[in-house]
């Protein structure tokens, strides 16, 4: 993509495409993964109980990310690209729902496997160049999260895996870049109201003290950023 094409991408409206069949498929896979993990696996005992989910808000955040990802995939893609993204989002939903790091495999296995798999999906749908674009997008997300976790202390370590999958699913660094810009706008507004709420109850000093340890989820915010981008355009 040349400089002119990059600028053109930024100013063009997102094309409308694809019906709701793939959207339903992705939602169904995510729902199935969550229901199975929540309702059945915990009762099956070892080793299946290890796959059950714990932590309500983490699950809600990932579930929200999946839903928003489905909306994005439908609204921002041409039909062939949309199918590739829907498959990626579906895979993302399943692995986010299952938390495969609970298995006795390297903790990053499902993260890297998911990212590589989605780059492969892009390769099948759009050729080598599409796969390379998706690899760049997930690399950008990985680098941003590592930097955010280690240097800026604004993200949790678990966000890295979510963002790698997010970059691979979105399949384009321009879209990811826009998502980051909008994500930070959402984040600033979110933190403003968070600080306002704490200050009204506990005072300004409490805001500063608690703000130092605040970890806001990047993944769901990033999806939300893309949705906001679409809404603005």
């Amino acid at each position: 993509m040349g400089n002119g094409e990059v600028i053109a991408f930024f100013v063009q409206p997102p094309p409308q495409s694809l019906g709701f069949a793939a959207y339903g498929l992705a939602c169904l896979s995510g729902a199935l993964a969550n229901v199975v993990c929540d309702e059945f696996l915990a009762d099956l005992g070892h080793p299946w109980a290890r796959l059950s989910r714990r932590g309500v808000w983490l699950r809600v955040g990932r579930w929200l990310a999946l839903i928003l990802g489905c909306v994005i995939a439908v609204m921002t893609s041409e039909p062939a690209e949309a199918y590739a993204r829907m498959i990626g989002v579906a895979v993302f939903g399943v692995i986010a729902g299952c938390d495969l790091e609970s298995w006795h495999v390297p903790p990053d296995w499902y993260t890297i496997g998911g990212a590589v798999g989605m780059v492969g999906v892009w390769g099948v749908a759009g050729g080598l160049r599409a796969a390379a674009d998706a690899a760049l997008a997930q690399a950008f997300c990985y680098g941003a999260m590592v930097f955010g976790v280690a240097a800026l202390k604004v993200a949790a370590a678990g966000d890295i895996k979510l963002m790698m999958q997010y970059g691979a699913v979105l399949g384009g660094i321009v879209a990811v870049g826009w998502a980051f810009v909008m994500e930070w706008l959402v984040r600033v507004v979110w933190m403003f109201f968070w600080a306002l709420g704490v200050a009204s109850r506990e005072g300004v000093e409490a805001v500063v003290a608690r703000g130092r340890g605040l970890r806001a989820p990047h993944g769901p915010f990033a999806w939300l950023g893309v949705v906001l981008w679409i809404a603005v355009l």
């Binding site: 390379a132 760049l136 690399a139 590592v146 240097a151």
Partner: protein
């Protein structure tokens, strides 16, 4: 080291995106290699 590589990957991916031809593909290979090295360092050298 892993964090520094992660930062290079983040910036490098943006730079590579506007490239064309051989420069683009060389950049993609370089970014992915650096990413893999960074992931490896984080995984094998992390104390967690």
């Amino acid at each position: 080291m892993a964090v520094a590589l992660g930062f290079v990957v983040m910036v490098g991916s943006v730079v590579v995106m506007v490239g064309e031809g051989v420069a683009y593909w060389a950049g993609v290979v370089g970014v992915v290699v650096m990413e893999v090295v960074s992931v490896g360092l984080l995984y094998f050298c992390s104390k967690e």
